[in-house]
């Protein structure tokens, strides 16, 4: 039982955090999107950044993956500063953006080979074949991605992110726009990742997704992290469930049964 209980991160764990964000701020013109975001993600865990549309989740991910520069604050990924050591950060991460970042004109296998080559791996063909197998895409591997379903595209997208085994993976709304079956496929893929020791930071607007996948959940609201903890910790923020008596209005059925009375009662028996 103790192991399952939530333990807030100790200072030691924070130091070991593979993703460390402190006081992150970002504005787009007049609009203040991030007003001081603090996050620490421990190695090998799944961290969910939860928030409604426009809360700034994508902005956080873009800053962490060196696509955007922050106005203020620090962010370190795998020990590297995202602003000063962007190249080292890029060696350590993979980004799966909100829109499947796949090349529609190429085949699934060609997409994987492309990324493997760009990551300067020795044996791009073998890497591609292995991932096609792991993501049940071997059959579809020789088809152009334009013919893929939404779920297959996302799976390929995630497979492309695994190439080179980066220690940190960012998944920005990985299941938005997918049907329930495809969502479960993606969830499975994410879980396997974490099992292999990869740190996953995912953003989502689906509460059940965070509940299902994440070791820790943070809620981003109006540019700040308003809560951050395990699912149990978050649940304890609300008063415990209690039994309440609610006055019940009679339904038409009740009225009918009362009026018709005992005769119906007897017949039913």
């Amino acid at each position: 039982m103790l192991a399952a209980m939530s333990i807030p991160p100790t200072p030691d764990q924070v130091e070991q955090a593979v993703i460390h964000v402190h006081g992150l701020e970002k504005s787009f013109k007049q609009l203040k999107v991030l007003r001081g975001v603090d996050i620490d993600v421990a190695r090998g865990t799944i961290f969910a950044l939860l928030g409604s549309n426009g809360a700034g989740k994508t902005t956080v991910v873009k800053i962490l993956s060196t696509l955007l520069k922050a106005d203020a604050g620090t962010a370190r990924v795998n020990g590297f500063d995202v602003a000063a050591q962007a190249a080292d950060v890029r060696e350590s991460i993979s980004l799966t953006g909100q829109f499947a970042a796949v090349d529609e004109i190429l085949t699934g296998r060609e997409n994987l080979v492309l990324v493997a080559r760009l990551r300067h791996l020795r044996n791009p063909g073998a890497v591609a074949d292995d991932l096609l197998r792991r993501f049940s895409l071997t059959q579809a591997g020789t088809r152009r991605v334009a013919t893929y379903s939404g779920g297959m595209r996302r799976r390929l997208d995630i497979a492309m992110s695994l190439i080179g085994n980066p220690p940190v993976i960012f998944l920005d709304e990985p299941t938005t726009g997918l049907d329930p079956e495809a969502r479960i496929e993606v969830w499975q893929a994410v879980k396997e990742l974490a099992k292999g020791g990869t740190t996953v930071l995912l953003t989502t607007q689906y509460l059940d997704e965070a509940e299902h996948l994440a070791d820790r959940i943070a809620i981003l609201h109006e540019g700040r992290i308003i809560v951050n903890g395990t699912l149990n910790e978050l649940k304890q923020l609300l008063p415990p469930a209690e039994v309440e008596y609610v006055e019940k209005q009679p339904t038409l059925e009740d009225v009918f049964l009362t009026l018709v009375g005992a005769r119906t009662d007897k017949e039913q028996r």
Binding site: L67, K69, R90, F99, A101, D103, L106, L118, H120, R144
Partner: protein, 253 residues
């Protein structure tokens, strides 16, 4: 320079070239408009145009080649725009690659695609009676000017490719460039144009480039035109390159 620049550019070039071989229609549509212009001007208007040259198709071809390039580069902007939209651009940017190789791959693809279109147009011109006595050196000089012109216009095309908000916006910039040869010595000699138009026509880049290529094809001494032409191409190339890279850096940081 990043140690992976050449390798990454080669990999990304392979990707873009594959796009072209899978949709060769981009090369065909690039070549169709200039060919249509060529047919129209040679067989409809050409008889009434006094150029002082014995064959109008010989006179016309240099300008048509420039129009081919001007229409071809709009596909560069289009392909770049699609990458930006699709998310694959962000994937590349978040990977440990030489960032400039993303642009160079598109630029080199443009060069290859335009050279193929140019060969198609020249072959049609040959069928229509185009003849030249130019030797290997003459052809090489023509090819050199066309390559320089393609690179210059391609770097211009990179800018709308990076900044456009819609597909139409990404390719609309090429229309004025396609139109530029009409107010030059490409179709008719400039002497008959009224003063201000003539002044514009004689001092814009297309005229000097067209004249230089025409002189090379007809084996005339090229004179100062070729230096003016090269200066224009190099000037546009440098400016467009700098501005495109500025836009790119602003986009990715």
């Amino acid at each position: 320079m990043n140690k992976h620049f050449l390798g990454d550019t080669a990999v990304l070039l392979g990707r873009s070239l594959r796009h072209i071989t899978r949709s060769p229609d981009t090369i065909i549509t690039t070549a169709i408009m200039p060919i249509a212009f060529m047919l129209l001007f040679v067989y409809v208007f050409g008889g009434a145009i006094e150029t002082g040259s014995d064959s109008y198709v010989n006179y016309l071809l240099p300008g048509i080649l420039l129009i081919t390039i001007a229409s071809g580069i709009s596909y560069t902007a289009y392909r770049l725009f699609l990458d930006m939209q699709g998310g694959i651009f962000e994937r590349f940017q978040s990977m440990p690659i030489a960032r400039s190789s993303v642009l160079w791959a598109h630029v080199l693809t443009s060069l290859v695609a335009n050279l193929i279109s140019l060969v198609v147009v020249v072959l049609v011109a040959l069928l229509m009676g185009f003849r030249t006595g130019a030797g290997l050196l003459g052809w090489l000089a023509v090819a050199g000017i066309l390559v320089l012109f393609t690179l210059a216009l391609t770097w211009i095309a990179v800018i709308p490719g990076l900044t456009a908000k819609s597909v139409d916006g990404a390719s609309a910039f090429s229309y004025p460039i396609i139109f530029l040869p009409f107010i030059s010595s490409a179709f008719v000699p400039t002497d008959t144009m009224p003063g201000p138009v003539r002044a514009f026509a004689e001092n814009q880049p297309v005229t000097s480039i067209v004249n230089a290529i025409r002189d090379l094809f007809t084996q005339q001494p090229v004179g100062t035109d070729i230096w003016t032409a090269l200066a224009w191409c190099a000037g546009i190339l440098v400016l467009a390159y700098l501005f495109a890279n500025l836009t790119y850096r602003r986009k990715i940081s």
